[in-house]
Amino acid sequence: MSEQPLKIMVIDDENIVGKRLKPALEKTGNIVETFEDGETALARFAQQPFDIVVTDIRMEKIDGIEILERILDQSQRTKVIIITGYATVEIARDALSKGAFEFIAKPFKPSDLREIIERAAGELRN
């Protein structure tokens, strides 16, 4: 029996990140939705939970840490992966202590993120 496709949410206020990640993650059969702000993303998550949320950490209004906390409040099983820039690695480590599954620093290759998603998927299956 084939595995269910993963539902993945990508949140980044830089349009290019979602635009580039969507086709790269859909290649492996996942269902991907992209958002450029936290509010819309959280509203969508309230309608329908996702298996994996990939979110930038530094965004206006709602930042990645708040998204992490609010997602985990709603769904403990969801794996949240944090995207970070150069200067925010410390904050990303803080995110790990708050329950993030992993973090990845920009710039990165889609294949690097796919590896993390595979690990997250393995934990979801178990």
Binding site: E14, F108, K109
Partner: protein, 331 residues
Amino acid sequence: MGILEKLKRRSATESGIRDFCIQTIRFKKFLENARSLLDCFEDGREKFFGEYIFDRHYVVSVIDRVVEQLGMMVYDASVLAPESGEALFAAYDKHKLAAENLIASNGLDMNNRHSNSAAAISDRDDPEYRLLSDALRWFNGKGASDAPADQPTVMDFMKQVFFAVMAALDGPDNAAKQAVIENRGTFAAGKDLYVIDLWKDAHALPKTNRAVSDVRSVPFRHLLMDTGGEKGDAGQHSLKACAWVAAISDDQLSLSTLNPASRFRLETLASGYESSDFIFVFADRSVNLDVLLPEGFHVENSESGRFAWNLDVSAKIIGDSLMVIGRNLFG
């Protein structure tokens, strides 16, 4: 000569040697900043051509790093070549302005597009990718397109800065270098070579001539390791007639000619840490680097001479390269 005159002369030589040591250490810093600039170019290039996900923040940070490192290089150059300082800072200000304009354009200046094909445009049509492509063209003329850059590149300016520094360091007016010749204590027995210990001679000059075998510098030993046998095949007659000065520490060697008519300079760090070790060579047009250097060097040509470097190299490669160069220069 009276005792007072002798003391005065000794004191002038000592301060000249000290200046020479400071110049050499500053030049190494200058090269480190140049190397950081090249790393920025390479990082941007790798991200552009390597299918990376990046955002505008990344591109702006690379441009900012280039401006910052370039400023540090120009500062070092103004210390090493004070007479060129004003002109270099003026040119640097233009590059700072070019960087600001680049960032402000946000990759949207379609007049500045020089793409080879429609495919290249459509594949990298996002403003962030266009901005990085424009930045790469500003760095060294190598963006998505191979069309010539329409303004002086950072690499062009780096060469200009290098020449200003080389002219000051290896020109006939460098008093610090003249002081080396006047101090016979630094002369290395058996070779037409003056050896300056960067960390000792600045404080107290040796009283007798040095023996090459007493010099403990690792790169210096490699350079002369294979020079006793057959003559090298470089045919560098102009260099073979030269006197040389080698400024050394345990892991550093700065070798240059004392003859302004044949300019050659080799700088190397052989600390055992690959990520910081390097060999850098500059030679004027009278020197044929093709036969002097072993394979593996990146070479940049210019009207006044050639630069060659090998970065991130293992201790073995540095040792082997120095043996080949030493054989060709001194064999």
